[in-house]
Amino acid sequence: MAHHIPTIRTYLIVFATLMILLLLTVLAGHLHMGRFNHAVALTIAVGKAVVVLLYFMHLRWSSKQTWIFASAAFFWFGILMTLTFSDYLTRGNRPTQSIISPAVVPQGQQSEAVSQSKTP
């Protein structure tokens, strides 16, 4: 079998990178950056996932077919998110309105309506 076998050194560097990224994401979580917190946390998560995919899951040394199969998973997940949010995010005609049921509950009365329907 002629497939690539990474060295122990490669794996240790990958592991150290992942641990540093974990430390960074925890530290960044305690900074108050407003909406940037989301972006930073998700970017670091994507970075960690890519490192695991490329090295631990050997994608870096895998065939083109494997790349296509692996990409398909995330491509379809992208379709799922994009199409759903293109619906929800365009439902409310006012930016302060909740996207969940904007047409049913008028703005300002929503919290009362929810508490009446859900409180036992």
């Binding site: 497939h3 240790l12 974990l22 946390a41 631990f56 995330f74 998110m81 929800y88 996207i99």
Partner: protein, 216 residues
Amino acid sequence: MNPYTAHLQHHFRDLEQQREASTLGMWTFLATEVLFFGGLFLGYSVYRVGYPDAWTEGSHHLKEWAGAINTGVLLCSSLTMALAVRCAALRMTRQTTWFLLGTIALGFVFLGIKAIEYTLEWREGLVPHFKFDMNRYAANPALGNRVQLFMSFYFIMTALHATHMIVGIGLVSWVAYHAWKGRYTDNPTWVEMTGLYWHFVDIVWIFLFPLLYLIR
């Protein structure tokens, strides 16, 4: 036919082709897993945009230290798993078994910390429907209801992930037993495929940790 002795099945040209087919099959399965978890990630995201205040509030109830330690434990287990796959590829039977046993041990550490976390959340009355302390939200019951929704997402997503960990520990134990018996010296593909599954479950947690515990 015994898959261990007849390590090259008759419908494959050679071991390399057989390995490639296994890899593609495993990735196909993992793609279905991405969409399986994807539905929950989607629901989580829709309600996060809908009820941002409740999601911030709910996230503060979670034990960040437990989530962070568990992320570290899973990353360590991925390292031991990757080293096990490497040793299997190099036909180092004993080392393969030891690294697989290490992976299993770290898997149990993860589940143990998760169990402690669930216990604390039960005691604090954070379990929706069964034991949720609505007195906390006496002033704003609507927010309380939405925090229950957040906690529902938290419990279902982490429990589904924990179920995958239990399945993973089962698979790794099975592979460790056969590795110890020296059955992968001809064909280590089983170890490699189990590794792909284990790393995938790790990736799911890599996203669950910031989404549930960190983003506030």
